[in-house]
């Protein structure tokens, strides 16, 4: 494997798993006749985005203007900045538009719409806008049926391009049937809003939905034009807990070294703490709680019921889920383990590069950026 040449902790990326995850989502959405607009916030890396799209310049979704700038500089032109826009960010967005980006953004209120229209007028650019719809009450957006929708549409005038929503509530489902129901609610919410806007004479070319669980299980995309989904490129333990993927589809892991043992407590101490894993405890609310991550051997095969039970900044404490004896003979000082993450977006964000494995060997190192 040559993994013993790497400094630990570090982030590994299994390219074959990523390729398969990307191919599966692409072919599913292609079969459904909807455009895939992958959310590149998960990876923040151009090679992964190219894999997701099977193209070097397809449409993407971003969560920061730095992402928009980085991916534009790497050849991507059609970019949706899917976080509520405020006037102070318009000059930076306008720079991208002047450089040739087709950058769209989102708002969910008349105040934000008027601020955007005024700020883009000052910048002498036209920025297309989607109205954010709140399909499940979990974050931002205008609720379907709320008369303010048409007020926002009116305030946007010629900037209005469509509607979008994100079914974040899909992360809290306890069955694939529940995810299907959330997906149908997501679709129905945004399609209804598009119809309301059109009925009032407004423009609504784009009808955009997105979350990895709903993209995977939605029974229909009728009326939807595009799907935004991000974490599927890597998958993670939360997705596995939802039944969206298997544990053996998870493409990223943190490589750590055993640095100590507490035999009386049945703990193995590693150098992969929360700085390497993140503080994300997303599986804490699922049926199977993986602590700060599921422990695998250096080949990436899970070791039954071993999890990172606790984490300090640069220490991870490996224990058996629910307690119990550890076979310390498997974990001598310096031995390497791989840890599957709860949440790929959060864990990847702790690292500046991906060590890419192909055919069981280290093939490349890909950079990952951060910041805003």
């Amino acid at each position: 494997m040559m993994l013993d040449t790497l400094e630990t902790p570090c982030l590994l990326l299994d390219a074959a798993r990523m390729d398969a995850n990307c191919e599966l989502m692409r072919s599913r959405l292609k079969g459904q006749g909807v455009q895939l607009r992958p959310h590149v916030k998960t990876a923040k890396n151009v090679e992964v985005a190219r894999c997701a799209l099977d193209a070097a310049d397809g449409p993407i979704t971003v969560s920061t203007l730095r992402e928009a700038e980085y991916f534009f500089d790497h050849g991507f032109r059609d970019i949706l900045y899917a976080v509520g826009m405020v006037p102070s960010k318009v000059p930076r967005a306008a720079n991208l538009v002047r450089r040739g980006a087709r950058l769209a953004t989102i708002v969910d209120s008349v105040a934000a719409a008027l601020g955007l229209v005024e700020a883009s007028r000052r910048e002498n650019v036209s920025i297309p806008v989607l109205i954010e719809i709140d399909s499940d009450g979990h974050r931002a957006g205008v609720a379907p049926g709320d008369p303010r929708l048409l007020d926002v549409a009116g305030a946007l005038g010629g900037h209005l391009q469509g509607v979008m929503t994100h079914a974040g509530d899909s992360y809290n489902c306890d069955s694939t049937d529940a995810i299907r129901a959330v997906a149908e609610r997501e679709r129905a919410a945004v399609v209804k809003c598009a119809e309301d806007i059109r009925a009032a004479g407004g423009e609504c070319a784009v009808v955009s939905v997105g979350s990895t669980p709903t993209a995977t299980f939605a029974p229909s995309f009728k009326g939807v034009t595009e799907v935004r989904t991000g974490v599927y490129v890597f998958h993670d333990l939360v997705m596995a807990g939802l039944g969206v993927c298997g544990v053996d589809d998870i493409a990223i892991s943190v490589l750590g070294s055993v640095i100590g043992h507490q035999r009386d407590k049945n703990w193995v101490i590693t150098d992969a703490g929360w700085m390497a894993l993140s503080r994300d405890r997303g599986t804490a609310r699922q049926k199977v709680d993986h602590g700060y991550g599921l422990v695998c051997d250096v080949q990436g095969v899970p070791i039954e019921d071993l999890v990172v039970a606790d984490a300090n900044q640069e220490h991870g404490i490996i224990a058996r889920r629910g307690g119990g004896a550890i076979d310390f003979g498997r974990f001598p000082i310096g031995a390497r383990v791989r840890i599957l993450p709860n949440h790929a977006c959060a864990t990847a964000a702790q690292h500046g590069e991906y060590h890419v494995l192909r055919h069981g060997r280290l093939a490349e190192t890909w950079e990952r950026f951060s910041g805003w």
Copy 2:
């Protein structure tokens, strides 16, 4: 304030508060006759380390070899790498020693000790070692009274320089009396181990303790030679919850912009999500739970009972603690808020720079590094 010129989200550092926090710890430990060896993992920045020491080259503690290398390159020579050493990391440490660093490290087992001795022999350098003592059962170390202590000392031979412990359990205290008790246990544990080593004829020049709560409240440092403490340079809500500092001593905050409102739910949405705040929920187990952070106005004054109740990657949801009406007039679209962090180490780690405020104005930008 000129804070409206900054892109959000970003990290602010109030220099006057940091100066006061550093001066207070320095004068306390000087008065107690023990050496301060600040833990620079919190800030990962040379200007902050210089402020902590009031000197450009004092002794420091690090949690990664990258920290050791960075601070060595910035003039620091006396460095303790306070995470269990493994042979694979010795070549990189040996490079620093050959360049002139007085780099010490730690182990807590015969296996790790033998591995270190052998690896440093191969590198032809001598690396001083402290034996890690487990004073409170929370992580790594040899327990006081465990006969393996002398085995580890024997395995280290001439590398042995002393003992160290970290009273991580002090973070779980519910009163300053409890912290004092933990501090005394921390001191007693490590002093006893030093005495045991000396009684067996071993070398034990260094007796090192450290955590911000115990450094602040320890009734005695008798027998201790140095104190390692890190988070006090910034402080945070967890430290305030422990009574170690006041909320108005917290020197870092995240500047965010209001990007939306959910009036029916009494939520204000900002662009400071967990990517800017970290996923740390350290106050969840304290008497007052601040969610993902305590919300302040742009001058840094807390707004009563407003917390970041939930966070997505680039969205923070501000709500009143326990629910209740929000005065939305204070939070128009684009308004700026400052958010005090649960855990300074975790929040700072999400950022690549500090925007330094002096006399209420932006004075400088300091870089912050990451990675291993």
